[in-house]
Symmetry: C2
Subunit: 183 residues, 2 copies
């Protein structure tokens, strides 16, 4: 399989991607210090992505943003139950209850070369299944103490290869790691 699956996400220094209720007010607040036009590589990353895979929670949170931010990018929402996709985005958003390995195989066979895996639980599931290729984590200079963690329990250690780190003048630190594939 040559399809890559990447994580591109921001966390607090203590490893949370949102508060327990999903709130990212702390991230919005931190982003006010980011100069106009600086996106910490997000747009360049998105340009390499064919399909976004996210969990139901993330999807429902994105819907609350009002405007759908992914334009005509293909999005797969993981959900075991049915899920109502609003009319305006039905052309690009599908719902899947496939086993992750089969989902990745299908998307790969359909030509997808690069998946963007988003949302805490979805990231953890991909990681546990050994399906992630790399992680780009942007650490925000704040401690929350509690929230939804980026990482969860895993069966065994996952050794990473550090690829690059960039510290921004506004205090964000972005590191990219490659995940060794199981032999």
């Amino acid at each position: 399989m040559t399809t890559k699956a990447s994580v591109f996400i921001a966390t607090s220094l203590d490893g949370f991607i949102s508060r327990l209720d999903g709130n990212i007010d702390w991230l919005d607040q931190a982003n006010t210090a980011v100069p106009n036009g600086e996106d910490c590589g997000y747009k360049a990353f998105m340009e390499t992505v064919d399909v976004i895979v996210m969990g139901r929670n993330t999807f429902e949170q994105v819907l609350t943003f009002g405007e759908w931010p992914y334009e005509d990018k293909q999005v797969v929402v993981l959900s075991r139950k049915g899920l109502v996709v609003p009319d305006g985005i039905r052309k690009t958003v599908s719902v899947s209850s496939e086993v992750l390995e089969l989902l990745v195989e299908r998307l790969s066979s359909e030509g997808a070369q690069h998946l963007y895996v988003d949302g805490g639980q979805t990231i953890q599931s991909f990681l546990s299944a050994g399906l992630l290729s790399d992680l780009t984590i942007t650490v925000i200079p704040i401690l929350l103490g509690t929230g939804k963690p980026l990482f969860g329990s895993i069966k065994s250690d996952v050794v990473l290869t550090h690829l690059s780190t960039q510290a921004y003048t506004f205090g964000f630190v972005q590191s990219k790691y490659r995940i060794a594939k199981d032999a």
Copy 2:
């Protein structure tokens, strides 16, 4: 109070300072990739430290290392119960059950200008008490999934100021943050 209290510690990318049983085999393994003579700033940091403050767990783990690594540096072990300090290190190691604020005040009045706060629980207690000045965290490129976390719950967000980040060729990423003192 002008006495600084610093954290200088290594964590896995998922924020653990040791496995649940205190084992740091993963850190020892990662350190085999570090070139001879490279200590990621530890010696330079230690030269600025007057007193090391650690918890009982950390103390007992350090004792298992065989040779006492802190030479003639003053060490305070936090323990509410009594604690037997081995003969060889009684000149420099004391045990304290003081409230942290009072401990810091006393050490300060005795001339200490820089405390090195070590051990997960002790770090969390200092952080909760608003007594930490800065954090130097060296992130090791591995996910453990479980273990003793560096950070724990806190009463409210702690906003940090990013001071510097250094990425090493062997994959460690060290970031230093200042903690804003409560007004």
